[in-house]
Symmetry: C2
Subunit: 136 residues, 2 copies
DNA sequence: ATAAGAGCTAGAGCCCGCTCTAGCTCAAGC
DNA sequence: GCTTGAGCTAGAGCGGGCTCTAGCTCTTAT
């Protein structure tokens, strides 16, 4: 199936600007075909690739790293260990991020509980003790 | 306990530049005391606050949002529901992020497994079938 | 035939979050 | 008393990742 850039944008959540930008930046593994009028025509495979890029970006992989991966794929078979290394490195980054998020989340959840408790007491007693029970 | 800015930087992982920047940006709930020579002197409470800010930033809360929270705290008691709302909103953002990360992670883990398998087969058979088994 | 709408390129612009510089002051150790 | 090192301010600069603009072309529906 062939798809126009607008289509692809709509279905991947990226903007058409971003799609052209990614292409210029060399994030695509192969050239995007053009129709006789010079417009980009995306294949289903292209869309799949764009979706991968979107996930990689969403999980914080820098453009630069994605380009390196795309370069390897473009080079063709033979460099699988290198590709694997890039993916694994990113896997670890994601795991670290998740850890950081969960630490932050539990800190915030704690504060939320404190506020909720204080508010419940407040509506019950209609009185605030200022900084009596800390917790900003 | 009183701490110099270098100290605080070391123990929070932020740079001294970032600490001054945060202060300028109004992320602090109260003014930072200065010594007779004009240097910042951080209390334990200040450090705790800085640590909160660091966690909020790490989890992707924009400077702007942290400032709003700090503004509320600075205003004093009475606006707890507003503070709670900000925290809850951020809590949700974090949860959404974690979701996105885990989707991305599973996509990548899948690819990693594919490569590992292909490599294992490759070393076994010493032959690559090119794009026979897709998966970039 | 025409007007609307999607696409194209090259390049400028923007936002965020720091980071760095210049030029100065201060406190402490040798 | 002098050097070294930490700190200060105001403001410039930067890197990443888009986003937007201008000016043009092409397709399509009326």
């Amino acid at each position: 199936m062939a798809h126009g850039i607008g289509d692809v944008a709509a279905r991947t959540g990226l903007s058409v600007h971003a799609l052209r930008f990614y292409e210029r930046e060399g994030l695509f593994a192969g050239p995007i075909v053009r129709d006789p009028g010079g417009r980009r025509v995306y294949s289903d495979d292209d869309i799949e690739w764009v979706e991968l890029c979107a996930r990689l970006r969403e999980t914080g992989m820098p453009i630069d790293a994605i380009r390196k991966y795309a370069d390897l794929v473009r080079e063709g078979p033979g460099n699988e260990p290198d590709r694997l290394a890039l993916l694994q490195a990113h896997q670890e980054r994601i795991e670290a991020q998740m850890e950081a998020l969960s630490v932050g989340l539990s800190m915030i959840s704690y504060k939320v509980r404190v506020y909720e408790k204080r508010l419940a007491e407040g509506t019950a007693s209609d009185l605030w003790t200022g900084r009596a029970a800390s917790g900003d």
